[in-house]
């Protein structure tokens, strides 16, 4: 009980000091993480090879489909490539930020070191979500973005201000949704400790986002829109970049992003209320 009051106090002080302090902290976190990661440069080679292999495999599959004169849910090849580019980008974000940070939550709970995090005078969700960064996902982020933009231009998208703003906003929303999904799953480890495998299930399910959502049968389409927001992760941003997204979808996507972020925040508070340290 005393601990949760400390926690509340710490959060309150953190909020008063303002966002500038968080920005400075973030720079320190990532600076030290990059310095230590640079020790393992062979990882870069492995990650680039893995990315190239995965992209080649996905292209092979698209080629199998489009080469036979078929289309994925009414999307042209170039438009489908935009979706694949965004998927690659999000995969890069997962390996740069989400997996290294949120994977550590499980370890923190198992080893009881979460107590120290909760005692720090900084928001615990912020600390846990941004403590480290792994640069090896960056090639994926760059390649994914480049592929999406290149394919969008080929598909005939006109880079106007509205498209750029809309596309940027949708990409941001999809990153926020992805983060919230991961964070909520990582939070469940407070109750169940060994739930890291859930993220493997999430990864497997999210791989549906490699293709436009309209390529799936009606049942799966509903599932991937309502239950698991795969549609908002790749398809809606792709539509926005292609400049053909309906305003209602853009608004809905922002709403889903804001809602899932608030939910992750609420869920984390809820979990902390039930948290009894590993040592006790």
């Amino acid at each position: 009980m005393a601990r949760s009051q400390d926690q509340a106090l710490a959060t309150a002080t953190g909020m008063i000091k303002g966002p500038l302090r968080y920005w400075r902290t973030l720079k320190r976190f990532w600076g030290s993480a990059l310095a230590s990661q640079m020790e393992y440069q062979i990882n870069l080679l492995i990650e680039v090879l893995a990315m190239a292999g995965n992209l080649a495999g996905s292209l092979l599959l698209l080629w199998l489909i489009y080469g036979r004169g078929q289309q994925l849910g009414g999307w042209s090849l170039d438009a489908a490539l935009v979706v694949l580019g965004i998927y690659t980008l999000l995969d890069g974000v997962s390996s740069t930020l989400l997996r290294p940070n949120l994977g550590a939550i499980v370890t923190q709970v198992q080893q009881g070191t979460l107590d120290f995090v909760l005692l720090k005078p900084i928001d615990s969700q912020f600390w846990l979500s941004s403590r480290t960064i792994s640069p090896w996902g960056l090639p994926e982020i760059v390649t994914g973005l480049a592929l999406a933009l290149w394919a969008a231009l080929r598909a005939g998208a006109r880079p106007g201000l509205a498209t750029i703003l809309g596309g940027g906003l949708m990409l941001l929303s999809s990153v926020v949704i992805l983060y919230s999904l991961w964070f909520v799953l990582a939070t469940t480890s407070i109750w169940f400790v060994k739930t890291w495998n859930v993220t493997e299930v999430l990864r497997a399910a999210l791989s549906a986002g490699r293709y436009p959502i309209s390529a799936y049968p009606a049942g799966l389409r509903t599932l991937f829109t309502v239950v698991l927001p795969v549609a908002f992760l790749t398809t809606v941003p792709a539509e926005a970049i292609l400049g053909r997204a309906a305003c209602s979808w853009l608004a809905l996507s922002v709403a889903v992003a804001a809602g899932s972020l608030l939910f992750s925040r609420w869920f984390w508070r809820l979990a902390l209320r039930d948290y009894t340290s590993a040592s006790s």
Binding site: N43, I46, G57, Q70, E200, V201, R203, A204, Y216
Partner: protein
């Protein structure tokens, strides 16, 4: 003759003890196993894609309609079978071995009068047994959603499938063991496994039935062991077109090739081994 009998009896006792203890251990991790089983849903996602394509009318240009026998029912059965084949041929010896090597647990194993790889074989078999109920549940849900796809394979096909999946597991296990043994030289052997998984993913038949590959690519894929690991057992179970004799012969060839390589690597690796961690 008496000596052989005693060795066989001894072997059976060791196997029983290993399997029993590993099964008890795996039962502790039932929830994790359920999640692992669930994380193999990729074939169902791909079924969604391919079933839509198979249902689509021929394209307006009239160049390439689906016309390669992608019957929707057969497609459902194929991907369900691919899911089952993957579930029971999956190997994770790289990760277990890497952890044991890094944490220094390998040293006591090496002192025991038993090739340590057998321990991992037993762990995999025990895990497959704990996986079985979850796979049955997932298959039952699948048939509830798609009752038309329900089928009962002939007993001959079932027997052949069990053998094929078991051989597929053997190939997978040997391939991964070769990589795992590289842990003796490098601490990052599991990264190699990630790279090996990519051709497996796209060529094994998990994401697309090999029938939709262009002939040249299909021929190239058949020079790798990957189609044998998913596509062949899946087609066997789903009642699709298979060349049973040739495929089993290819599996035997791959095992005959990989087994000595694994053992040679193992001997070289152990000679190089200097305990880590502990």
């Amino acid at each position: 003759m008496n000596g052989l009998g005693r060795r066989l009896r001894h072997g059976a006792r060791v196997a029983r003890a290993l399997l029993g203890s590993q099964y008890a251990l795996m039962l502790e991790y039932r929830a994790e196993t359920a999640l692992w089983a669930l994380s193999g849903i990729l074939p169902f996602i791909m079924l969604g894609i391919w079933s839509q394509l198979a249902a689509a009318p021929a394209d307006p240009t009239g160049l390439g309609s689906v016309g390669i026998g992608l019957d929707p029912l057969q497609l459902s059965r194929y991907f369900l079978s691919a899911f089952v084949a993957r579930q029971f041929s999956v190997a994770w010896v790289v990760y277990a071995f890497e952890e044991d090597a890094l944490q220094g647990r390998l040293s006591p194993y090496l002192l025991q009068p038993l090739q340590p790889l057998w321990r991992y074989v037993a762990a995999h078999l025990a895990e497959q047994l704990t996986r079985l109920p979850f796979v049955v549940i997932i298959a039952a849900v699948f048939f509830l959603l798609q009752p038309a796809a329900f089928w009962i394979p002939t007993p001959g096909r079932i027997a052949a499938t069990v053998l094929a999946i078991w051989l597929a597991f053997t190939i997978n296990f040997l391939l991964q063991s070769c990589i795992a043994i590289l842990c003796f030289w490098s601490e990052r052997a599991s990264a190699l496994e990630r790279l090996l998984f990519i051709p497996y993913l796209f060529l094994s038949g998990l994401v697309a039935p090999l029938e939709v590959f262009p002939p040249a690519l299909r021929a190239a894929a058949h020079w790798t062991p990957f189609p044998l690991m998913v596509a062949f057992p899946a087609q066997l179970l789903a009642g699709g077109p298979v060349t049973i004799g040739a495929s089993f012969a290819a599996m035997a060839t791959w095992i005959a090739l990989l087994l000595p390589i694994t053992l040679l690597l193992w001997r070289a690796g152990v000679r190089r081994y200097s305990a880590m961690g502990a």
